[in-house]
Subunit: 230 residues, 2 copies
């Protein structure tokens, strides 16, 4: 049933953004979604009505909303496409991991499921995109990973960067400047309660200071990284 349902690019963008927001907050608000999509609350309300009519979300006016099963499945297909294209751009076309997001935003709206499954195979069924975010499989199953943000990491505990929450190019540029990338191992050397900024140490580099805003957007593995191989 419903193997190749096609939603407009705008609807897909809304579904995807709702999915990400409800990961963090459970229920999503109109204002939050409008901010995430750089649009107006009124426009969001308009779209919510359409998505509700299409039975993709649970929504009662003034009370917030979240995806239902159908909506979640649709969102995961978009996320799958986005992340596979990002992987393709970096691994095959030699793009930098910090410059692929915008292009993938366009590619993710190409409909053909066959295309995506072939691309997946061509890329060797990668598990994560270049930012470390896991790629849903063909059935939309997303292998969840235990991630915490850098602000939550205890002092002096080494962790490995496994994802970047906010992927604006400004953010990615800042991280690149500080030699923080996917897979980078780092530890917090000092926390400044005044503004919650952190002094972070990456191996073989002088320590750098990160604002609380940045730290909250750097995701790291919750458990001990591999430090020795045997």
């Amino acid at each position: 049933m419903a193997p190749n349902v096609k939603y407009s690019a705008s609807k897909e963008n809304h579904l995807k953004a709702i999915f990400h927001l409800q990961q963090e907050q459970g229920i999503v608000t109109t204002n939050a979604l409008a901010a995430a999509l750089q649009t107006r609350p009124a426009s969001v309300t308009d779209m919510l009505k359409k998505l509700k009519d299409q039975k993709l979300l649970i929504y009662e006016r003034y009370k917030g909303f979240k995806l239902n099963n159908e909506g979640r499945k649709a969102a995961l297909q978009v996320i799958r496409k986005h992340r596979l294209w990002e992987y393709f751009l970096v691994k095959k076309l030699q793009f930098g991991w910090d410059e692929v997001h915008e292009i993938a935003e366009e590619l993710e709206h190409i409909a053909s499921k066959k295309l995506i499954d072939r691309l997946d195979a061509f890329l060797g069924f990668p598990e994560a995109d270049p930012h470390g975010d896991p790629i849903p499989d063909s059935q939309g199953r997303l292998q969840m990973r235990r991630q915490i943000n850098l602000a939550q990491l205890p002092l002096n505990k080494v962790a490995q960067v496994s994802g970047i929450a906010s992927q604006t190019s400004e953010m990615l540029e800042l991280l690149q400047y500080n030699h923080i990338r996917l897979g980078t191992r780092l530890e917090i050397k000092k926390k400044f309660p005044f503004d919650d900024s952190l002094e972070v140490k990456v191996r073989n580099r002088p320590p750098v200071t990160l604002s609380a805003r940045v730290a909250k957007n750097v995701l790291v593995n919750d458990d001990e990284p591999i430090t020795e191989r045997r």
Copy 2:
């Protein structure tokens, strides 16, 4: 100047279709374009006005139209994108050459020029797409090739299939069924003046009969193919 001008998908489709039509007929008519795009003449007129305002074509009402320099350049960029994606789909993702057109119709509207130039390099700067149609280079230069259609080929002269004019999936299916594909060498064994159908022979195969309609859409090299290597 104007390196990354972005036109809507619909405008790009119009530009591309006009380009193809004027290749054959010099000047293009509203009805012909409407037929090519499977839309209505009134819709075409609406779009023509917009394209004229954007200075992409020469158009006087009731008198037909054609692309100007700017429009031709834009059309060639779309054609370049389309053909490179087709090549990618066939050569890298193992699609059949008769099933890539629809997907490429979507991919061709992705904007980034950098993406396309990287893709071009990744594919090894191919000269022609899987249907044998030449791929414009990064500057939009299209290397023209001497092609005639199969109906014009003299009796018993071997020629090599170098392009398919009408790429409907019905047409491509028919050709595939008859083992006629890009690069296939064939010759005309008999012409039937009654309906201008042809008996065509492909090496190691029994002869097949093609209608005049099909023959006009199969393009072959004008000059002798290479039969021996030295």
